[in-house]
């Protein structure tokens, strides 16, 4: 980490940015970028870094090669990966011994090592360079892109990519009103879920009476399967903070909070380091750069309740009270933290601000659709070849994300549904694949943009089971204040659970719909108001599946354990014994080369045998289909 000195005035900072930028451009060394966010570290990036350092030392390349450890690049599937600059050679899924080979082959001999290159799951073609990888090609990484270029723990590195130029512009050349107007004209809408126009929120907070105002960065991110905000905070914390500083200038706040969930230790660490350096550099605190602008920024760790992402609950949590939403109005812009006007925005919203200030409102609004501008980061997970974070321009279709960027569904299975918006969102079927992504279209389709979770499901997914999963999440995460939300989610879960267990009755779906409507209408906060979406959207697009469970006692996808039974298909069984070894309860009988048999009284329906059989000789059958067969052939 380069040392930080204190900037006494605007000129000093500007000069340092110029110098840092120039020195980056003149850099003669080859740079090896190692992606090492939470996901990379989980897959062993730290060991890769060690091995890399050692290999470079041993080859005597220390003066010619520089290692840059960065936050996440978003391509989870390919972790741990490295990019070698200036050529941008991209090597993926590396282990420490691989790194040794690469250093020898590529760095010393100048040859590309084919087997570590990325291979497209559909075309099987290998990509040499980062920009040739289909996963990156259709993305527009204005927010995430810089993660590759900076060591997130170093202010100087951030300055060397022109960081804090937007802040300087706002500080020296723009009045608060102009900043707000620029944000308004850019068309930026909140990335935390509801999509409220950011400029209008800023204006309301700016205009609210009172001298003391606060700004808050919402990094609670409690949706299952979502981790965009984590990666931004981990990979480029200075960008978020710079956005907040510009916001503070515009709104007239002199204190702010970054709320991060405690389960994100790396994000907490990087934000803390960033704050320390900014205080040392005189970019936070009293009289910043000798001007009249003073701004203090704190970090608050959240205990990781989903509902604490709701703005009023989050504020209660910062104040040290129970994280329970309250009635709005008054909105935080009128009465927020400690009853003072407060502007609360999502991590990604704040991270867009420096870009808008630097490049102008027109640049930003040229990306996207008429109602939704800019890009959105999604975490693409589930049954998809390329899992990872994708940043796409608004207006792209679901199909492009899932097939072009995501590389389609693994193992040649068919696409069934995509869930957007987390527990408040909905499941969209294949007929909606050409749906474009923006706030309005997703809402019209019965889902929402949400904060950016995107879970892909294949034909082996049971939609009733999916509805049950989200209801289970919600009945647990509801704060429990409103009877509509607390009992509503609990009762919906009970009904759906009964359906998955074959205990569904005629009338259940009508009751479910009635209850869903009441939960939506009667609840106080966004959690309850959207809690019915996962049920309503699955009912809207997959009603036949619910009906199959209720009337035929059949789970079409073969997922609901009570409705299926595993059986060996005698014609296909080769007697390889794989299933027998996989079975945890010893429920499978058979000797080598003989047809195997599953003992139903011992089988716990774990599905391990089905996974283990290479000959597709085990299938999940309907409970009563078997019963019928038994009756016929006693």
């Amino acid at each position: 980490m380069k040392r930080v000195k204190k900037f006494k005035n605007v000129e000093e900072l500007r000069k340092t940015i110029d110098e840092q930028e120039a020195s980056r451009q003149q850099e003669k060394k080859r740079v090896i970028v190692v992606s090492s966010g939470t996901c990379g570290q989980a897959r062993g990036s730290l060991k890769v870094i060690e091995a890399l350092k050692k290999a470079i030392r041993e080859e005597g390349l220390k003066d010619q090669v520089m290692i840059r450890v960065t936050g996440c690049h978003g391509f989870c599937e390919a972790e741990p990966n490295i990019i070698i600059y200036p050529d941008r050679i991209f090597y993926q899924k590396l282990t420490p011994p691989d790194v040794r080979t690469i250093v020898k082959e590529t760095l010393v001999e100048g040859r590309v090592v084919e087997k570590f290159l990325h291979r497209d799951p559909l075309t099987k073609e290998r990509a040499w360079y980062e920009n040739e990888i289909p996963f990156y090609q259709k993305q527009k990484r204005i927010v995430l892109g810089d993660n590759v270029f900076v060591d997130p723990t170093s202010l100087m590195e951030y300055l060397s990519i022109g960081g804090f130029r937007p802040f300087l512009k706002a500080l020296t050349r723009m009045k608060p009103g102009e900043i707000i107007d620029t944000v308004k004209q850019s068309g930026l809408r909140g990335r935390g879920g509801a999509g409220f126009p950011t400029g209008i929120k800023w204006e309301a907070t700016h205009r609210a009476p009172g001298d003391i105002k606060y700004i808050i960065c919402n990094g609670d991110e409690g949706d299952p399967g979502a981790y965009m905000d984590r990666s931004v905070l981990e990979g480029n914390p200075f960008r978020v903070i710079e956005g907040m500083m510009i916001g503070a200038l515009a709104i007239g706040a002199r204190e702010g909070y970054i709320y991060v969930r405690d389960e994100y230790p790396l994000a907490v660490r990087h934000v803390t380091l960033a704050l320390e350096q900014l205080y040392k550099a005189g970019l936070l605190g009293e009289k910043i750069l000798g001007t009249d602008f003073s701004f203090d920024l704190h970090i608050t760790k959240g205990a990781g309740a989903f509902v604490c992402g709701e703005e009023t609950a989050l504020i209660a949590s910062i104040e040290g009270r129970v994280g329970e939403p309250r009635q709005r109005p008054p909105f935080p812009a009128q009465k927020g933290l400690w009853k003072k006007p407060t502007c609360i925005n999502n991590v990604e919203t704040w991270a867009n601000i420096p870009l808008i200030i630097l490049n102008g409102a027109d640049w930003f609004s040229s990306i996207g659709t008429s109602g939704s501008k800019g890009t959105k980061i999604f975490s693409l997970v589930g049954k998809i070849n390329n899992t990872g974070l994708v940043e796409v321009p608004m207006g792209i279709t679901l199909r492009e994300i899932i097939y072009d960027i995501g590389g389609g569904i693994p193992e040649g299975k068919a696409f069934k549904a995509v869930q957007t918006g987390g527990p408040s969102g909905g499941c969209l079927p294949a007929s909606m694949l050409d749906q474009i992504i923006d706030y309005e279209s997703l809402t019209a389709a019965g889902s929402i943009m949400g904060s950016g979770g995107m879970i892909v499901m294949d034909e082996k997914t049971c939609m009733v089971d999916v509805a049950m999963y989200f209801l289970n999440f919600l009945r647990d995460e509801s704060c429990g204040k409103c009877i509509s939300c607390r009992e509503g989610t609990q009762r919906m879960w009970e009904i759906v659970k009964d359906i998955t267990e074959g205990k569904g009755q005629p009338g259940d779906l009508e009751l479910l719909e009635e209850l869903a409507l009441a939960t939506k209408e009667a609840s106080m906060c966004g959690l309850g108001q959207t809690a019915a979406n996962p049920v309503l959207s699955t009912l809207r697009y997959f009603r036949d599946e619910f009906e199959a469970h209720i009337y035929d006692k059949r789970c079409p996808a073969g997922v609901c354990k009570s409705l299926i039974r595993y059986a060996v298909i005698p014609e296909k069984c080769t007697g390889c014994e794989a299933c027998k070894r996989a079975c945890p309860t010893g429920a499978i009988q058979g000797t080598r080369k003989d047809v195997h048999l599953i003992l139903y009284d011992k089988c716990i329906k774990c599905g391990a045998c089905l996974e283990a059989c290479r000959f597709e000789a085990i299938e999940a059958q309907r409970e009563e289909a078997i019963a019928i067969v038994r009756e016929v052939k006693p």
Binding site: G480, S484, T489
Partner: protein, 226 residues
């Protein structure tokens, strides 16, 4: 002064009033359960729902917590409101079927079915007791624990509280722990006797020893059939 429209009539509210307070001032009835004068509004029971706004943006809010706002258009008794209210009562019945207050509400709003599995918890988590203890009895002896479906009322660490002075304030205010009348359908989830009996169950009171009648408190049946 704030000017609003309520059920088509222009009304004026003081700064700081809620919709509920304004409605009360004008004599408009809105049912409430978790609301009590003298305690901070909380918004848990969702019974006091009203519809605000017009057209596609109209929505339901709890009138006990929603502030009176200039130009607001409020309807207290639309079909949408009543439908949601009924579901709230049905949900409350399913967890506290032995509460007289809730049984009476069911009769009053024509809730004649209870379609959920009974889970008798004798508490609808309205929070009245918590607020009573803290705000009127200066006790802070009890509070909410956990969230979601696991939420419950208890003392810290579920131990007998040193703070509790056994004043009985919490029991006094609880809508769920007053026993329902022991009429002809005392064991079923839904009584509705006041609605369905003719003559009303009042005539049976003596024989069935309705406690409410003895205490001279009930009168639901009388009120309903008058």
């Amino acid at each position: 002064m704030i000017t609003m429209k309520m059920n088509g009539v222009e009304v004026k509210a003081e700064e700081g009033w809620t919709i509920l307070e304004t409605a009360k001032f004008y004599g408009l009835e809105i049912p409430t359960l978790c609301h009590h004068e003298g305690l901070t509004p909380y918004g848990a029971c969702r019974l006091c729902l009203v519809e605000i706004g017009e057209g596609p943006r109209a929505k339901l809010v709890s009138s006990c917590t929603y502030p009176a706002e200039e130009g607001l258009v409020v309807h207290t008794d639309t079909k949408r409101v009543v439908q949601a209210r009924r579901m709230m009562i049905e949900l409350m019945l399913s967890v506290a079927p032995y509460s007289k207050t809730i049984q009476d509400l069911a009769s009053k709003f024509g809730v004649t079915r209870m379609r959920f599995k009974i889970r008798n918890e004798e508490c609808i988590l309205c929070g009245l007791c918590v607020r009573m203890c803290e705000e009127q009895m200066d006790g802070k002896a009890i509070g909410f624990q956990n969230r979601g479906y696991q939420r419950k009322i208890s003392t810290p660490f579920d131990l007998r509280s040193e703070e509790c002075r056994l004043c009985g304030g919490c029991i006094y205010i609880c809508p769920a722990c007053q026993l329902r009348c022991q009429g002809p359908q005392a064991e079923s989830a839904l009584c509705n006797a006041c609605l369905t009996m003719d003559p009303t169950c009042l005539d049976y009171y003596d024989e069935l020893q309705c406690w409410m009648y003895d205490a001279g408190r009930c009168g639901t049946c009388v009120r309903e059939k008058k």
